[in-house]
Symmetry: C2
Subunit: 426 residues, 2 copies
């Protein structure tokens, strides 16, 4: 890694100190910096306390090139950021007339008159550079304190997000860097350590100019290929190609694509519709599919058949199959899918039946056992997995795996990928 | 507020500095402290950097009574916490034989032999007090540095959670405090500012000894009544009673109860079953209901009928009703619910049809319009709301409101509560 200029964050707010709010803002800011080839090296979090804020600013401006302050820009008396920055900078707080007008208009558009509290937000340190807030009333601002550029940003995540491009422009201006870039990939079915091992074992000459990063989500794992200058773009592309060759069936797509969005695209390209018959996931597969806009063009109906009686009545699973094999069995999921395909007229679909727990396990079928059936009317496949993950995570992973099985089926990818081989109880 | 002894947190890990991980651990620790009448006053976050860690520890032990360090206890060379604490305390790192045995057993149970990296986790500062980790291999420990008790905790949230009682026992031992208590309430349908306004206007003599706190979740809002000594328990109870009188129909329950769990209990008490017929929520109502263990005793089947054809075919909604009124209409949701009740044999149920967006809105029925029908076969009620919240939040709030409508119905509560009156487009 190239040396980067020291950048500090100062997060403020009593709600952070009480644990009432989980601070996602500092991750948002850190990611924007990383994407620009920069890095936070120190972060302080304190409550709405004048002395602590002043001390923390004083500590950091002496050793940092940039200090980004988040929070404390609101209208109430707890919101101290503008006045402590003014004091630390040795400047007066003065009203910025244009900003006052913006605030007056903002309030009027919302049907009320700006009062003293609102207009407090127009009072910034003399000579500060205003950072416009396109979605709220509190503007950010930037001032130099010594050799350090101090940038203030609002606490509401939506407002921070909207102002981040303006903030990053100032950061780039000040520290010059920021020619790096990040390629983000969404993957499903492999863990961070499995990917690291595969890359380590199978990509012999991984270039040190490309940093491999991870961001664990559930059910997806995001991979990042970070370079610090555009000169390394060819290397970044080469790493991407090698990863596609190594475990491309686990790569769902780039940027922020989800499993459901990628499946919707595949179905739409093929002019196909999908259905689902759910027992242990209780509606989560349908919910994931319909969370993405545009679902109505590929999804008409889903069935949540939690009881045996409803598996029989709504999906036509035979009572003797249920009695002989139990609800969590290969014949039952196959009949569930058959029934759902025929009732909905869909071209493809998936059915699941399993034991989410905490109760209901047996030595034969422990908690975490799940049967999948997937495919179209004349090509139903089925598979058992053992996923002893706790009820919540079990439901999420089973629903995601169900969507992934259809995705793999449509793409002609192997339906027994790495994560199946590891989880196969047989 | 009573003065509290200064307590600092030091969070470590490069993943925090890159923004790859959102730090929820510090909120977890802060909440445990608040529940004990204590408070974090300063938090530092740094990467896996020996010099920064040493400096930060040095800074904080001189001004804090307690310093809780989180992260950096793992087996890899990046995990520096034990050695920097040893250095800051002027102690040697030595192997703790009992801890080494525990680690060897832990590895063996997982089918592999402990190696040098694993056993590094048994090397702690001489004389440290071990804090057992019931769910992982990395133990925490505590040592005094000057007058400050330094406590180390592991980064994985599950391990931190499991060790927190042991940590809090040490904290209480050291600073003596911890006689406060927090009463937590889950509410639905009122915002933070609405509740603050109601409390301010209608509870004239709110005692200053009881602090009202909030924790925004989606769809629930958690209220907290915090007292700092057991002497104030009667006041805390009085506040609770006044809040019940003021907006008790919005209080779902205490501690961590969810809407679905509270509804399950009500249904079980009445020996009733429930069904749902979903269009715009796409399975989310069923998914919420079945996320809670024990769902099978009250829920047999749910229907996700996304297209008009399926509303007709699966739920018997008449084609002329669909044509005349459109899918998002009162007659359609009432017929959807009637069909779902009759197909499932459930005693009560809910049906929703709305426009989640971003597309599909009209001047007459803008994005965010949703019709609900709820109740049993002979007592179907219906209501329209306008919730222009963006697709994700719309789906979550509509599903939660659907569950809340049944809850209100079973309890005989008004079905036009505060949040309906405000959102009623008529």
């Amino acid at each position: 890694m190239l040396p980067t200029p020291p950048i500090a964050l100062l997060m403020t707010g009593d709600e952070l100190m009480r644990g009432d709010t989980v601070d996602s803002n500092s991750a948002t800011i850190a990611q924007a910096l990383v994407a620009a080839g920069l890095r936070v090296d120190y972060k302080i979090t304190v409550g709405d306390d004048r002395a602590l804020l002043l001390n923390s600013i004083g500590d950091r401006v002496s050793v940092s090139r940039i200090l980004i302050i988040n929070g404390g820009l609101g209208p109430t008396s707890d919101d101290l950021t503008a006045e402590v920055v003014a004091e630390a900078a040795g400047r007066q707080l003065v009203e910025f007339p244009e900003l006052a007008d913006t605030i007056r208009n903002w309030c009027e558009e919302r049907g009320f008159q700006a009062d003293t509290a609102n207009l407090k937000q127009a009072r910034l340190p003399e000579g500060a550079e205003v950072i416009a807030n396109p979605v709220g009333s509190a503007a950010g601002f930037a001032v130099m304190i010594g050799a350090c550029l101090v940038i203030t940003t609002p606490g509401p995540p939506r407002e921070l997000g909207a102002m981040l491009p303006g903030v990053m422009a100032l950061v780039r201006q000040h520290v010059g860097g920021g020619s790096g870039s990040t390629l983000r990939l969404q993957t499903f079915g492999l863990g961070e350590s499995a990917i690291q091992e595969m890359v380590h074992n199978d990509i012999a000459d991984w270039p040190p100019e490309v940093t491999l990063g991870f961001r664990a989500g559930l059910p997806m794992l995001e991979l990042k290929l970070v370079i610090e200058t555009p000169e390394h773009e060819a290397l970044q592309r080469r790493c991407l190609e090698e990863m596609h060759a190594l475990f491309g069936d686990h790569i769902i797509g780039e940027a922020d694509v989800t499993l459901a969005a990628s499946l919707q695209t595949l179905l739409r390209e093929r002019n196909m519709t999908i259905t689902c018959a759910e027992s242990c996931t209780g509606g989560l597969i349908a919910s994931m599919l319909t969370q993405e806009p545009g679902a109505s063009s590929v999804f008409e109906a889903g069935f949540v058949t939690y009881s045996n009686a409803m598996k029989h009545k709504l999906l036509g699973v035979s009572e003797s199959t249920l009695e002989k094999h139990g609800a969590v069995s290969e014949p039952v999921v196959r009949e569930m899918l058959g029934g759902a395909l025929s009732a909905s007229g869909a071209d493809t679909g998936v059915a699941v039946s399993g034991i989410a727990g905490p109760d209901g396990g047996t030595p034969d079928k422990p908690v975490g056992t799940v049967w999948f059936a997937w495919g179209g009317p004349n090509a139903i496949k089925s598979k058992r997995l053992l996923l002893p993950l706790g009820r919540d995570i079990f439901q999420t992973v089973v629903a995601a795996a169900a969507i992934d099985l259809i995705r793999r089926d449509l793409l002609g990818l192997p339906d027994v990928p790495h994560y199946f081989r590891r989880r196969d109880p047989q």
